[in-house]
Point group: none
DNA sequence: CAGGAGCGTCAGGAACGCGTCAAGACGCGT
DNA sequence: ACGCGTCTTGACGCGTTCCTGACGCTCCTG
């Protein structure tokens, strides 16, 4: 198991690193949010141990961005015992939350528990001549790179994250345009149209970007 | 979601029960290990909140016996912050561990987090050559996808959520058409008819979408 | 046996949602 | 300031879905 350890405290990094390696894990290290996000995209670890108190990008932000394209288990560390921060992290999709100070044994047990639940995760998805690489933010069609605008990417990402599943119009609008948008379904029509033009062989007869009238859209692999 | 709450402290039971119900969960109560195990077998909850300090059978024992035959999420409560007990519970298969005293919000967030992970399990319902996948909003009959209109979905979802149980006409109308509808049973006749035409082998002799004259409809798996 | 209530079916018209296009507004870098 | 790409916004045509009323049927009841 590859474990990414994100913490700004060098002592803690050393201690936890030793403990994790003793469990038989391969340990990657990041000291700040920026390099954490980079390591997540490039090295594709199987599980993440994430300290919320980072010098640059906040841990919560790292978690939020990671959850945009991956479902790998994340165990959060925090010095603060404040409830609101815990609630925020858990609702963002953290798998577990440990408050400092904590025992090494406890952390290792929580990592084990999270790893045990780790399901099969497919960060890069292939559908016909389409290849959608979420971590790399890259789409190719028949080998050729397809350029997407930020909004188009947000939409596609949301749909591809749950292949085959229907995503409601509200969810799409909330996630891509913001919580204040709910009824602007015309945005969806325009941008789904754009995506189909770029990704589908025959945009008028889509095979992957399926619309369910009155409900939402789904990505069909 | 059905939540089984196992705790010997009556005050805590009341407080947590209120909070969990406010989240929209159905709450079952057990005050000791024996009744907890019984409730687990008979009522099949979707998630368990388990206090380790029980009068008769220890919470750890309840967890061990439960894990022998079920993988449903368990959130453990404990007064003791001792590390060994945490490690033991987590390695036995607890999904989360909360130490008293804790904030209501935090516990609810952890329950949400556990429920979310479990939710991606298998809430798909199979009945003959019919496969109904609620979260994906997809129905297949003998492998072929069946397209449903929003109203048809609303109706089917309502019926399938309680398989085998009768759902009254009022409940169906309220849920699918809105609270102001109550006597428009003709809507039901039309749309149940449509569903039967799409889902039943012989729409004139339905095997799954059963009507109970004068009362309502039921979905028979 | 007659009557009524409840259910299933059908077929119209009205209303809605979707895809498409194009024009204007905005932001950004040069 | 200019040009470019991106995002918003509105309008139109078209297909689908929804509502509605009518009819025939079966079952239950008096």
């Amino acid at each position: 198991m590859k474990v990414l350890l994100v913490d700004d405290d060098a002592t803690l990094r050393r201690t936890l690193g030793i403990g994790l390696r003793a469990e038989g894990h391969e340990v990657l290290i990041a000291a700040d949010g920026r390099s954490a996000l980079q390591a997540l995209r490039e090295d594709k670890p199987d599980i993440v141990v994430l300290d919320l108190g980072l010098p640059d990008v906040s841990g919560v932000e790292v978690l939020r961005r990671l959850r945009a394209w991956s479902t790998i288990p994340v165990v959060v560390l925090s010095a603060r015992a404040e409830s609101t921060e815990k609630v925020q992290a858990l609702d963002l999709g953290a798998d577990d939350y440990v408050t400092k100070p904590f025992g090494m044994e406890e952390l290792l047990a929580r990592v084990r528990a999270s790893a045990r639940r780790a399901g099969s995760d497919v960060p890069v998805l292939e559908a016909g001549d389409l290849v959608i690489d979420l971590p790399a933010r890259r789409v190719t069609k028949a080998g050729a790179v397809v350029r997407l605008t930020p909004t188009e990417w947000g939409l596609l990402e949301m749909l591809v994250r749950t292949p085959g599943r229907l995503v409601s119009q509200q969810d799409l609008l909330h996630e891509v345009w913001g919580p204040t948008y709910a009824r602007e379904t015309n945005y969806l029509r325009v941008y789904v149209g754009g995506l189909r033009k770029k990704l589908e062989d025959d945009p008028s007869q889509p095979r992957h970007l399926i619309t369910e009238p009155g409900m939402g859209y789904r990505f069909e692999p």
